[in-house]
Symmetry: C2
Subunit: 247 residues, 2 copies
Amino acid sequence: MTGASASEVTAALLVVGDEILSGRTKDKNIGTIADHCTENGIRLKEVRVVADEEAAIVAAIDALRPAYDYVFTTGGIGPTHDDITADAIAKAFGVALPIDERARAMLLERIPEGEMTPARLRMARIPVGADLIENTVSKAPGFMIGNVIVMAGVPSIMQAMLKAVTPRLRTGAKMLSVSVRVDRPEGAVAAPLEACQRAFPDVPMGSYPFMDEGRYGTTLVLRSVDEARLAAAKADLEARLAAVFGG
Amino acid sequence: MTGASASEVTAALLVVGDEILSGRTKDKNIGTIADHCTENGIRLKEVRVVADEEAAIVAAIDALRPAYDYVFTTGGIGPTHDDITADAIAKAFGVALPIDERARAMLLERIPEGEMTPARLRMARIPVGADLIENTVSKAPGFMIGNVIVMAGVPSIMQAMLKAVTPRLRTGAKMLSVSVRVDRPEGAVAAPLEACQRAFPDVPMGSYPFMDEGRYGTTLVLRSVDEARLAAAKADLEARLAAVFGG
């Protein structure tokens, strides 16, 4: 599908969670991670959501990790029996999943020694060879093994882990974007947009309809890593729109 | 991964859209479709989000349609050059994508004949052999071909199409769920929950931490298609929790 190039750093996201697939929980992490990748010069190219089933997680990891520079995962690293993401990642990498003494020490910063139940200790199980990712919110760490970054599903904790791991990631040129709002329906702007796209094939252009006070409008979005090229494409598009609709 | 069984009807969702992957648009359709599937006795087992790239869409359709009873798609069926979902679906099915006279007639209910531009007519291109899905909001139809249901990305239009197509879908037993709120952190409820899960292996149980006024709590969710079995599992869980924490 889409691998890495010298100038581009790519990523996929794997969301683990029955609760997202049943509708009980509405995912908020996809949008946060998408924004974060864009801001940091990483192209998020694919997202998958799978159930809390080891085979499904392993299959997704096997498919995604050779295809992208990084694979983020969210969910399934808590203390209960349905938290099986660490097990699945260890299985996908063919490594053991012992209690990690560094992770155990982190848990003990929050949990008194006498309250360290076997369930809580589950959160200190880390695949052999992984680096820990600090969790400033509730201590139980995430981890990074190979190019796979394993984070919690609770949004505030996921965000803390994402912030902690980002300095370790390779990033590429930041994708810039400009928007042009047109108070016309999509069908009316399609021709000038397509002509502009042909003139600037290196600047991906998207068209997003909206409704404002009962009238259709369209937001046109142009993207490039080159600021000057983006400005030139925008000027070209605006000239084409003015030629059709009047300045 | 997870195919169909006699009693279970499964589905996957493919979200097509650069704007979701860049973070510009926050997806709302995954949650809506997840809820709708659960309410209608369809198990949503997997979601994928891919870019507006034909190869990515075709690869996802090829992977998903043999694996699930139904594959829903959202996005990429508008009038502009970046709307390529219909092209990709036709390619995946190996059929042509001509202007469909039924779809053209639907468009003419909203668009005067004199304003029917080539761009707008793109929305009447339907893969050969597909059935149309009515769009009560803006007329341009979705379609269903084989087990693939192709819908718009704009949430209000997607919802209209989902409502229109649902009577044509096979549905299974409705998955019921009950929640038990415990004002204790997840690590404290893990042991009684796991014991209950072992006693009721046919009732999937999930554990979802929350924070309320600065204190950790846990929502335990039990699911089954059998109401009596669900009630029995809930009573068992409550008894186990009372034994640990006091009634």
